[in-house]
């Protein structure tokens, strides 16, 4: 009843091709923007901003990155953690070596470094596919892990790389002294801009080429899509996103991190995000990141909030069990991810409350 597009006529191509062609969607997005830009920073506690929102944001960015590669181009990658490490290490190095360089520029450049490394490790994708490619990208993960642990130059021979304090327009936005609100806005800014770019990329010629490769690479080649360029572009852009996400993770969340935080587990975490959220969906990247980040936090806090007198150890074990059960539950309900669940809900909403 409420969610019906009947009567909304498109009179121009631009209106027809809008990201949100339906008025109700636009209203919902506008409300979400207000919530994200005003309500959350105003009313969210520091804990909520730091532990939930900032985490969801940089993981969303990484998940979008991986989704472009795995969901849209069909190239399975287990190197996400490594590419995030490239971003984190390169932004740390640049922040130390060039103290006057703008921090936003540093983040963008760190994405470029990650993109370059991504292209390098994407080269095998031209010859191998599927699980074999996953193993090749696993090599990227292990090599980068090893490199940053072993070569002291990358970490300045200290045990941890740091999120160097920097400010923008006189406000400290990175490092421990930055307020959670400032950090949140930085993360939000990056995610909004790059989510918009990603959304438009996948609706453009580039995105269609990616999907053609994903669906059948030989057919794609026959109709004139160059696999070399298309696949490497996917690797480059995907790694660019992951690199920036890694920088944000270091500069806005950890402040100081051992390089081995960016290990294979991180790669898996991001991969699970897109599997649960929905492969080949930008919205799914957000939903998956939100699911994987927030559910454990909610479960950790649940005994306290409900006043259950159980030991922290038992609570942790329960958390693992419930989280695991939820993942299985959602995958059974909808193997195509949370994004697909939303799509079904939308179709049902159209007819609500008079389904036929």
């Amino acid at each position: 009843m409420i969610y019906r597009e009947a009567g909304q006529f498109k009179t121009s191509y631009a209106a027809d091709q809008a990201i949100f062609p339906i008025l109700q969607d636009r209203i919902a997005v506008a409300i979400m923007m207000v919530v994200a830009l005003v309500v959350i920073p105003m009313f969210g506690s520091d804990y909520f901003l730091e532990i939930i929102m900032i985490n969801v944001l940089f993981f969303s960015l990484a998940a979008i990155g991986l989704n472009l590669l795995t969901g849209y181009t069909g190239q399975i990658s287990l190197g996400t953690g490594g590419f995030m490490a490239v971003g984190a290490v390169s932004s740390y190095k640049m922040a130390i070596l060039f103290p006057d360089l703008n921090i936003i520029l540093i983040f963008l450049l760190s994405g470029l470094f990650a993109a370059a490394v991504g292209i390098l490790f994407g080269l095998p994708s031209l010859r191998i596919k599927g699980f074999y490619l996953a193993v090749a990208t696993l090599a990227a993960q292990f090599f980068l892990d090893w490199l940053f642990l072993r070569v002291d130059w990358f970490t300045n021979a200290s045990t941890a790389i740091e999120g160097v304090p920097r400010s923008l327009f006189g406000v400290t936005i990175t490092g421990p002294a930055a307020t959670p609100v400032a950090k949140y806005y930085v993360a939000l800014g990056f995610v909004l801009v790059f989510a918009l770019i990603a959304k438009n990329l996948v609706r453009s010629q580039v995105g269609r080429a990616w999907m053609a490769i994903r669906d059948m690479d030989i057919a794609a080649e026959i109709i004139g899509i160059r696999p070399l360029r298309t696949k490497l572009l996917a690797f480059a852009i995907s790694s660019f996103y992951c690199g920036i996400a890694g920088s944000l993770m270091l500069f806005l969340f950890y402040d100081s991190a051992e390089p081995d935080l960016f290990d294979i587990n991180l790669s898996f975490k991001v991969l699970f995000m897109i599997i649960i959220g929905g492969l080949g969906s930008i919205l799914g990247s957000f939903l998956g990141a939100a699911f994987i980040v927030t559910i454990p936090v909610i479960l950790t806090n649940a005994p306290d909030l409900l006043g259950l007198p159980i030991s922290s150890e038992l609570a942790k074990h329960l958390e693992f069990m419930i989280f695991g059960a939820l993942i299985i539950f959602f995958l059974i309900v909808e193997p195509h991810g949370l994004a697909r669940l939303w799509q079904i809900a939308k179709e049902k909403l159209r007819q609500w409350p008079f389904p036929y």
Binding site: D46, T155, E162, V164, D255, A257, N301, S312, H317
Partner: protein, 437 residues
């Protein structure tokens, strides 16, 4: 379908309620001490006795004395599973409740929370681990790594070797190896040992063990067998330790020339090898066994009484005793702070003052029922390590025994390294350097 729908509805409801999480409940009726524990995960074997030791001592103070000077201690565990991101979550969750000190027991978590503490005004006590240059209290006023650091300990090992060889001049031409976890923690002693190698003319060789293959060290031990270093030090953790000790037994490396860091000297590391590991040495800064009056008190007041989870057999284990020693330092720092600020619920800043001005004398240790359990501990504004001596303990086939005397570290070598590294970090992180009068 109804089940599916109601379950989805529940989850949606949970997602809506979630933002209310994190509302701070300040602990006004007692001193709030959060413990970041790891009773789960791959290092649970080590994390459990540490957590029990800390918990039991605070529980003893609460039940026997009614807290410290009449102020109750509120101890809350936050389970990290040794994961850094979960540790940060625990830190953010507990800091608003009035936390006075953090004891992270993980290099990763220590590193991640050190930059956050000056703004939150809560001190970190990383007792003998964590960030070594934090011993420079001018750069890291909020971090304490008393009684000693990895670098100091490395110098103690070299000093011990010199004693055994008959003087520092006899070190010339000797070969000293280091088998270490190939990880920032494992590489900690390398700069110190390199410097000492240059000073005394011994050859220094490293044998890195990658964390991913730490349970298969055959190739490493074959290499050690070929090189035959005169002495071998070990910086290991978790499953690396017992594997390395078995490796040493396999190649017949002389156990009394094999010295582990204080994280490589747990019962679980040598118990499996039993008699064969006899003679293996490890650094230590607190007592072994449970031969102190305090342990009788713990048996009487704490064991078997909730929330203590300690089985009686755990008393006197290395890591349990380390938890006790950690708790003693925390409690004495609180007492010190109360001496200046009054017997009330102190805050993080007052706790920091207490830690910096701690004076744990031999007489005080005796009062606590821990005579000779550890050395008297004092630190200063500029030195948060305190340059305390370390001793070596020996595995006699069934238990640890005290082996050497307390050996002082080579401060003239270690301190300049610490200051130089601290200065470098201060520049990188734009940290203010505090004047110490």
């Amino acid at each position: 379908m109804t089940f599916k729908r109601s379950a989805l509805g529940l989850i949606a409801a949970a997602a809506i309620v979630a933002p209310t999480i994190g509302a701070a409940q300040a602990a006004q009726d007692g001193i709030y001490i959060p413990l970041l524990t790891y009773r789960t995960g791959p290092f649970a074997d080590s994390g459990t006795p540490i957590a029990n030791g800390l918990n039991d001592y605070f529980q003893l103070l609460n039940t026997r004395d009614g807290g410290i000077n009449g102020v109750k201690l509120i101890v809350e565990e936050c389970e990290t599973g040794y994961k850094t991101d979960v540790g940060v979550e625990c830190y953010e969750r507990t800091k608003t409740k009035g936390a006075v000190v953090y004891n992270p027991y993980s290099t990763g978590i220590t590193n991640a929370i050190i930059p956050k503490t000056p703004d939150d005004k809560i001190p970190v006590l990383s007792m003998g681990y964590g960030l070594t240059p934090a011993a420079d209290g001018r750069v890291f006023p909020w971090v304490f790594n008393m009684p000693t650091t990895y670098w100091s300990q490395a110098s103690v090992f070299v000093k011990y070797v010199a004693q055994q060889e008959g003087g520092f001049d006899k070190l010339k031409g000797k070969k000293i190896g280091l088998i270490h976890l190939d990880h920032p923690y494992g590489k900690e002693p390398i700069p110190t040992l390199q410097k000492l190698a240059g000073m005394y003319g011994f050859e220094f060789v490293t044998y890195p063990v990658p964390p991913k293959t730490m349970q298969d060290q055959r190739s490493t031990w074959e290499k050690i067998d070929d090189d035959a270093p005169d002495w071998l030090f070990m910086w290991g953790w978790g499953a690396m330790n017992p594997t390395a000790i078995k490796g040493a037994i396999d190649v017949d490396y002389p156990m009394d020339h094999f010295i582990g860091v204080w994280w490589s000297g747990n019962e679980s590391d040598v118990r499996d090898s039993g008699k064969k590991a006899e003679g293996y040495l490890a650094g230590e800064f607190h007592g072994v066994g449970d031969d102190w009056p305090l342990f009788d008190e713990i048996r009487k007041y704490v064991i078997g009484k909730s929330p203590s989870q300690t089985p009686e057999s755990m008393l006197g284990e290395t890591l349990y005793n380390r938890g006790i020693m950690n708790a003693v330092i925390v409690a004495e720092a609180i007492r010190t702070a109360m001496g200046k600020f009054g017997n009330k619920v102190i805050n993080g800043e007052e706790m920091r003052w207490g830690l910096e001005n701690i004076n744990l004398t031999a007489a005080r240790l005796k009062e606590l029922g821990l005579e000779g359990f550890t050395i008297p501990i004092r630190v200063s504004c500029e030195d948060h390590e305190g340059n305390h001596p370390v001793y070596l303990k020996r595995w006699d086939g069934s238990k640890w025994v005290k082996h050497s005397d307390w050996i002082s570290p080579m401060r003239n070598v270690v301190r300049p390294l610490i200051e130089a590294e601290a200065k470098k970090l201060a520049e990188e992180r734009h940290l203010p350097i505090r004047e110490c009068k």
